[in-house]
Assembly symmetry: C2
Homo-oligomer: 348 residues x 2
DNA sequence: GTGCGCTTGTAAAACGCTTTACCGAGGGTG
DNA sequence: CACCCTCGGTAAAGCGTTTTACAAGCGCAC
């Protein structure tokens, strides 16, 4: 495998000249330039990336750490980041934490040790002091999707509060006054904000007494199953459920179906994320859609900005990307209350 | 940031000694060892990975290239490989080809240029000469899930033919004699083998005339939609459909539902992959399940074997991992033919 | 003709590690 | 006593770039 000095020898110049020419920091008269280009192609020279990285002190690769890869939300996120990284000629090294604190810290360390130029970090659990410390001591890090409160690094989230408001307003407009909110643990910003927006708008539109019960837990099918079991024991039962993730929807449907509860006749259901094939479920599930692709792209963009513009430490921003309501067939007016003010969609 | 010579100075020994001690190629009397350990922890020394890689000529990272990341099958595959790589202390650099030939070749080049120690490669399209060339010239490469015929590298597939047989035997046992096979383009080994096993076993069990129609195409929802449209125009219509991927199932259901065809009353459906939430569809879909986790783990294992045992070039193997039939509620005896020999499962 | 600055280079020092080749001392063996 | 081996350790040569510091040649203004 040819190296720089082979090229230099063949072209009859020094390695420095070749290196600088190839990196564009030296312009040569056409004759010389062509000699070098010829040597490169004859020798099929390709710079050794390890040497280059050692010399330059950077790796042209960024890290992406997510709690999990297999689920549809993170899978789409990873895909979005990978695509954007590739477009910019960056490598992407991928890590899954499986929500284990030790791993989160370990991967952050690998950023601090300069294995990587930058990192996009998404966590899924309530942050603790160790994580906060680790995050704080990192440069070129951006937090995505979920907060680590107190960390002064750039952050990119979807507009969770607006999403909550959309869900609340949709349910309220359909006539629901008693709902079950099932969502993320309240120490997590996404959960808190979704709930806040939801409650606010539900109250505002309902313009009368509303009842909101809550089941909290991680964004997993298990939380959905728990919530469904709780729902089954409630009396009276709420007329609608706001599930704040796709996975929660999945668990919910599983046990609701077994209990012969039908959606939306017995209870309305609205989800959050909208990355899985929710449109194929029975019935197709109405949900708040997160802009996954934009989330990933924007996060990468910010990492690169902090790389370029290393001076001046720009004020860490918190960016909110807009969500949208995707109406399908899982939300209807409450049973026994045929709300004429509402244009009910047919469920297949 | 401390480096090796700082540690050596502090411990009062030479860099060589520290390096060899730290890498386990030198064992020292306890006193010396402790001096070095102390120096390391006082200085918070961590070896510079770029330097180490340059020096050793390897990166302790392997590549994983897949056609796409966002879909559930590849997402699960990526997750499996990542987990296994992490367990072994290896980095994972991820690339998506989006089925673009140029990208496939480019990523293979990056393996040949020694950017990475090894690579797991999964393609999704019929191979061409350029791809074959690229694959052939790579070392420490393993092909996963889909073949590049003619390449003499290790390969890991699921047992597609056995999966086909299972589907065929299941449908035949239920009484189906006229079926629609929708599957991968026939230049692709997975498609060919699934079909071969399917046809073989269907014929064998049916023990009489059977009719198999085929719709071929990539493993995408669009192929499923095409197939469904084709199905709707057939006369007489087949009584069962074998869709050889989850994505095909999704497309199929979409248009079948719109056409008010119900499963399994009007037509039985059996899928392949079983990685999405098929159990939540209406009805839950019976499918052949691929051992995704094992596939990923095994592929990585083989890459590492070729790394360790670089001499002797062991005969490239083709390993087949077993699939299983997961019975749900989308297969029933053909309408109007209440087959008493069959224990029909209730569909919810 | 001296000094200045631009062009076209070059030599050599990092970058931080691994690894090869050696070497002295101590201890057993014949 | 000569010999050989092992243990504990060292010096130095890579690994393949980038980058800094410097220089020869040359035109040009003063």
């Amino acid at each position: 495998m040819a190296n720089l000095s082979d090229v230099a020898r063949k072209a009859g110049v020094s390695v420095t000249t070749v290196s600088r020419f190839l990196n564009g920091s030296l312009s040569l008269p056409e004759a010389r330039a062509q000699q070098i280009r010829d040597a490169v192609s004859e020798l099929r020279y390709v710079p050794n990336p390890h040497a280059r990285r050692l010399s330059r002190g950077r790796s042209d690769a960024i890290g992406l750490v997510v709690p999990d890869i297999a689920g549809p939300f993170f899978a789409k996120l990873v895909a979005a980041v990978e695509e954007e990284a590739d477009r910019r000629g960056l490598g992407l090294v991928l890590h899954a934490t499986l929500n284990r604190p030790a791993r989160e810290v370990r991967y952050l360390d690998s950023l601090r040790m300069r294995h990587l130029d930058g990192m996009i970090f998404v966590t899924n659990r309530a942050a603790d002091a160790a994580l906060l410390d680790a995050v704080r001591s990192c440069r070129h890090l951006v937090l995505l999707d979920e907060d680590v409160p107190g960390a002064d690094v750039p952050k990119v989230f979807c507009d969770n509060e607006a999403g909550g408001r959309m869900a609340g307003s949709h349910l309220a407009a359909m006539g629901h006054r008693s709902v079950l909110f099932v969502g993320g643990a309240s120490e997590m910003i996404s959960g808190r904000r979704r709930y806040r927006g939801f409650e606010q708008e539900l109250q505002r539109i309902a313009d009368g007494p509303v009842r909101i019960e809550r089941v909290l837990g991680p964004y997993t099918p298990e939380t959905g199953r728990d919530a469904a079991r709780h729902y089954l024991q409630m009396d009276p039962r709420p007329t609608a459920i706001f599930a704040s993730s796709d996975d929660i929807v999945i668990g919910l449907i599983e046990v609701l179906r077994d209990a012969l509860i039908t959606i939306p006749d017995d209870v309305s259901l609205i989800g959050f994320d909208d990355v899985g094939p929710l449109h194929l479920f029975a019935p197709p599930i109405t949900a708040i859609r997160q802009p996954v692709r934009e989330l990933g792209g924007r996060a990468l963009g910010i990492v690169l900005d902090t790389l370029r513009n290393d001076t001046g430490e720009p004020a860490p921003t918190e960016e909110l990307l807009p969500v949208t309501l995707v109406e399908r067939a899982s939300v209807a007016p409450p049973a026994g209350r045929s709300n004429a003010a509402v244009n009910r969609r047919a469920s297949p």
